[in-house]
Amino acid sequence: MISDITLGQYFPGDSCIHKLDPRTKIILTVLFIVTVFLVNTPLGFLTILLSVISLILLSRISIRVILKGVKPIIYVLIFTALINLFMTKGESQPLVDFYFIEIYKEGIIRAVFMALRVILLIIGTSVLLTYTTSPISLTDGIESLLSPLKKIKIPVHVFAMMMTIALRFIPTLIEETEKIMNAQKSRGADFSSGSLIKRAKALIPIIIPLFVSSFKRADELAVAMECRCYRGDKNRTKLVKLEFRGRDYAWFGIGLVFLAAVIALMIIPSHITGILPETVYNVFFYKI
């Protein structure tokens, strides 16, 4: 079923991550993404891995749900890993040398860590942001973070409202698609067999009703908004005012320490090579 897709879905809860201000989570997510792309040593990866695991535990979202979220990107993962495996040229002797296929030790290491990087990125951002933040508070957060742009006449509120509506209607559209698919299946439509052209044609009975009902829905929503005198953000007050609390500052602190630690791990090793035994250094601070 289409509704099995969990990537990008919100899971209500009351863990400490759920309770954070959405702006905090957005900023921390940006920090996290930067960190994941900066990190280039196994020790750094270990740090990120541990922090992602503790995020999962703190959010109290079941591991099964999280793994299900990674499932749809498994082919992308395999593809990037294979590209890295075959395209990376190393200095040492290739491990496999079969006609035009050459695999180096560096390639294997890079493929593994690339895959790990993508997995950590997906899990980390979804636990920190999408799984634990309702779409409404997410757009509220974005609107508030972007509000300085209002000074240069960018209609931030309108964009935020459009995003809220778009996010709000994703589940509705998924449900609608499933309903229409079921209706057409009941009339003997077949979506999963035949040539590519035949399959594309089989989508017409789904796409047309979906468009028709989406336009109708948009019309109805617009009328409903006008009936309640919606006029953009002029004189509009909010039900829930975003406010940074103690826990938000605490989490900022944790985030900065985390980023600093990873950057430190990138810089420091060259100074302590003399202190640590060579083998330890080679394992933990190997540059990927």
Partner: protein, 286 residues
Amino acid sequence: MTKLEVKGVSFLYGKGTPFEKLALDNVSVSFEKGKITGLIGHTGSGKSTLVSLLNGLYKPEEGEVLLDGVNIWQKPSEISKIRFRVGLVMQYPEYQLFDETVRRDIEFGPRNQGLSDEEINERVNEAIRFTGITEDLLEKSPFELSGGQKRRVAIAGILAMRPEVLVLDEPAAGLDPRGRREILGGLSDYVKESGVTLILVSHSMEDMAYYCDNVVVMSDSKVYKAGTVDEIFSSATELEAIGLDVPVISKIASRLKACGIELEGKLYTVGGVRDAIINYLGGNAK
């Protein structure tokens, strides 16, 4: 004779997610050949889920669905053939219309069956006769029609497949009284003429009492009670206990009974109660 049987069926939505929900819990029920069986119950009692298991849209977690005694999931690759034999009209079916003309939309099902043009034409004519669609609508776009007309076209699209079992989920929801009577009356004529087995989901007790032979009452994902219309509507208290109603006329009849007026007969339709009162007063209803 049993045409379609559901045996010990359970079904879960969203298995393995925090939203997991048991929609059907060990449901067993059978539908008699050539009869109209009504399916009533609250919103969320599992009616629509049960209905979508009947033609194999979903596969039951446990239990089996037997069509003429054969499990419909015996050959999963041929499930689409089952969907031609058990025709399902879903709730608010007008959203499924997509083709350029009404005719082509009704033809969609039969074309998927791989029938000849001649056969398809004959079936379309039959389908529009029972659903009350006039010929002049056939060449119009389905999007130009009114809500009630769209509903008829959607039902005709399923009728044209000539299923052996016809399942309709709230075919008259949101229509005016005349529209209801025409659609339900047409379907009931169709049953009489073709001998098809009809399963009707509805919220209206009046419709149930008037059109159905048997009634299945669902509550809390389970079958609460099943029997003939007589059996089901004779005990108002039982239905009221799960928050359902009996037809208004049954209430009047039971009030009269409480006043010591002995009525006998079909006390769930207006005609039945009328005859009973005439009989009670010493007249001859027939």
